[in-house]
Amino acid sequence: MSEKRKKPGAKRYLGVIIAGAAFLIFILILPTYREKSLSMMAYQAKTMLLVIPPIFVLLGLLDVWVPREKMIKFMGKGSGPKGSALAFLLGSFAAGPLYGAFPVAAVLMKKGAAFFNIMIFIGAWSTTKIPMLLFEMSALGKRFALSRLAIDIVGIVVIAWAMAAALGKEEIGKIYQNAESLE
């Protein structure tokens, strides 16, 4: 979970205040929509507040218990399927939005993880996170979530492979050099 960019409270809630004001104006001007929008909001809030707490507990637990340092060691060149599987797990057990993965990827590159594994890691982070999968199952249905997971696993591997092929050794070398210079 990224701790940077903590804006002060009032500023962070500015959007909420604006949206809330807009909502008030909306139901005052157009009372026909009042009932429907209020019941929609209550329903959404209820569902989300019911489902969100266990997800965040799971994310917190993963953050604390997954031994990142140890996993990174086994993701180097020639680590084979085991290294890729670890990269996949590392991404799937992560927390936070995709942009949180880029700095971690840079650290992985510095520590010598293979480029294919880095791309697997990025792919997994973006789309196969386990607490999110549970949430997706409850919101959109098991069939939806599990079929998406299945095709995503294929897609992650294909994209990683295609990236490594499309960029070529020289460009990948440059990316690694660039990662060294970051921070």
Binding site: A19, A22, K36, S37, M48, V51, P53, A105, S126, K142
Partner: protein, 160 residues
């Protein structure tokens, strides 16, 4: 339901964690709380926007633009919106579920969810900083095309 599975998983995890290391468990809970507070503003904004949007758009309108019959245009529109927006999954899923219940098609919603997660137009500058321009562009292009394929697959499975 599935919510019970979530609570069971969290409960069992917490139990194990507490048994093994109380301090770590405490910091996990603190992190959970902090993360929740972190998304709360966004969560509330989306909640309000969804309430307004879905009260104005009736089922017929939603299914015209995002329904099964909206076809390839609906799929493309949904994935473009997904690629551009930057919403965490726990906020997007309930909104997507609401759209589904109100007449959107599974393929279109899958296109939105997939490209939302894999493609990041807004975060492209950050990605370029770490991977360079070319790699970042290529990855997002691949991810966009793939999210269309994934959507077709999910739509097919759900419709079986």
């Amino acid at each position: 339901m599935d919510t019970i599975i979530l609570y069971l998983a969290a409960g069992i995890g917490l139990g194990f964690s507490f048994f093994k290391d109380r301090k770590k468990t405490k910091s996990a809970l603190q992190k959970a709380l902090k993360a929740f507070e972190g998304i709360l503003p966004q969560f509330l904004v989306v909640l309000i926007l969804v309430a307004i949007t879905l009260s104005v758009l009736d089922t017929a309108t939603i299914s015209r633009f995002l329904g099964t019959k909206s076809g390839i245009f609906g799929i493309l529109a949904a994935s473009v919106v997904g690629a551009i927006t930057l919403i965490p999954g726990f906020i997007a899923f309930p909104a997507a579920a609401a759209l589904l219940q109100n007449g959107a098609g599974s393929t279109q919603i899958a296109a939105f969810v997939s490209s939302l997660m894999m493609v990041g137009v807004v975060t492209l500058p950050m990605e370029m900083k770490h991977f360079g321009k070319r790699a970042a562009f290529i990855r997002n292009a691949f991810a966009f095309v793939f999210s269309l394929i994934a959507a077709l697959f999910v739509g097919w499975v759900v419709g079986l």
